[in-house]
């Protein structure tokens, strides 16, 4: 019983939170459900000695999405498995979450069939080359929050040329070839963050 991982669930939407908690408890997992990002940080930092899995529902994050991206990125060195689920299938968004440090990316429809098989198992080390560097993540988050290259340059205290180089690196890393899929990525992030405004 004790070998089952503890599941830290961050899902603001009440229906999915209740549903997932009941389903996982039926399987014998211990579920810690967080309602605020502060509580989430606390739970992640807690040392228990038992394997832990972080489960995050992207569709309900709203304006905490960018903060969660940073949380994911900060936890990739902890022995913590991170599972993320998106509202619909989206390759580029999935690559972005993997780049930010998520171990697996599912969609809400796949949760039922695949979640239980993904929870056990050791933490897979992130492949090199997939994970974004801290400055790449910074620039990506700045672009996603709607800033222009020149504004980011002032904010990050560097030249706009550096900003566009880093943007190019992000696009290479996330395998975004065309400008339209880059704009699409920003649009999708914008849609997710503005859902509850």
């Amino acid at each position: 019983m004790n070998s089952l991982p503890v599941i830290i669930l961050y899902e603001p939407r009440i229906l999915l939170r209740r549903g997932l908690t009941t389903r996982l408890q039926d399987e014998g997992h211990q579920v810690v459900s967080c309602t605020s990002t502060e509580q989430l940080t606390e739970e992640i930092c807690l040392q228990t000695g038992r394997p832990r899995v972080l489960l995050v529902g992207v569709g309900g994050l709203g304006n905490t999405l960018l903060r969660i991206l940073r949380t994911l990125h900060a936890t990739h060195k902890l022995s913590l498995k991170t599972l993320v689920y998106l509202p619909q299938h989206d390759d580029v968004l999935a690559r972005m979450f993997k780049g930010a440090g998520a171990s697996h990316c599912l969609t809400e429809d796949e949760l039922e069939s695949q979640l239980l098989s993904l929870i056990p198992g050791a933490v897979t080390a992130c492949r090199r080359g997939v994970l974004l560097t801290p400055s790449e993540l910074n620039v990506l988050i700045d672009y996603a929050s709607g800033l222009q290259a020149s504004e980011i340059a002032v904010r990050r205290n560097c030249s706009y040329k550096t900003v566009s180089t880093i943007k190019l690196l992000v696009r290479n890393r996330l395998n975004i070839e065309t400008k339209s899929s880059w704009v699409n990525l920003l649009t999708h992030i914008d849609q997710l963050t503005s859902l509850y405004k």
Binding site: P12, R18, T21, T22, R23, P87, N184, T187, D190
Partner: protein, 204 residues
């Protein structure tokens, strides 16, 4: 002792167990109450008080089973949708009188849903109301046939020069169509245009 008869058509077990957990907490809070949850069937049974249809993942009305479609005009029917199914939600709002619950709602009370549907009122969850409000405010935009064609390609994510090669028009012509579209939609840059094309339901 009052027993609320609830029938469901499920697609996703997780939403169903969420509903079940919500009902259990109502039952434990109200001693005189009881709920019975069972699958919807065509056989004549006791009269149901609420029918829950899980429509997450349906593209259009045809994706639902015939039995579910036949009860869509009753206010006792609650359809569960995702916030991204904008087109489907618009159809439901215009053509049917069923209650709608968005599963992406941060918080909602199952009690309110049961109460409102029992009083024969239409229940719409806050996100649905907001979207309904936004779409009724939006002015219908009229495009010329050429602009429509360009718009379709833009939605697919083609760049200006790609469209010009596909349509055998000069890049300047395409650019001018695109500028006109942007003017009509009142957007300033590519990013705003893209989010307008992808979110606005008035243009399909």
């Amino acid at each position: 002792m009052f027993t609320c008869q609830i029938r469901y058509v499920a697609r996703n077990d997780i939403y169903l167990s969420g509903i079940r957990a919500a009902l259990e907490s109502i039952v434990s809070a109200n001693p005189g109450w009881d709920c019975q949850l069972s699958p919807l069937s065509t056989l004549a049974q006791e009269e149901e008080h609420l029918i829950i249809i899980d429509a997450t993942g349906c593209e259009n009305i045809n994706g639902l089973s015939p039995v579910s479609v036949s009860v869509l005009n009753s206010k006792h029917t609650l359809v569960m949708v995702k916030a991204i199914q904008r087109w489907f939600i618009k159809k439901l709002l215009q053509q049917y009188s069923c209650s709608i619950l968005c599963v992406d709602e941060i918080n909602f009370q199952m009690r309110d849903i049961i109460q409102q549907t029992m009083e024969n009122k239409r229940y719409l969850s806050p996100l649905i109301i907001r979207q309904h409000h936004a779409s009724s405010l939006a002015q219908p935009v009229v495009f010329t046939p050429a602009e429509y064609t360009v718009l379709e390609y833009l939605r697919k994510g083609c760049s200006g020069s790609e469209i010009s090669k596909l349509l055998f028009r000069s890049e300047k012509t395409i650019s001018s169509h695109k500028r006109n579209i942007m003017g009509k939609l009142g957007v300033r840059d590519d990013f705003e245009l893209n989010s307008k094309i992808n979110t606005s339901i008035a243009m399909r």
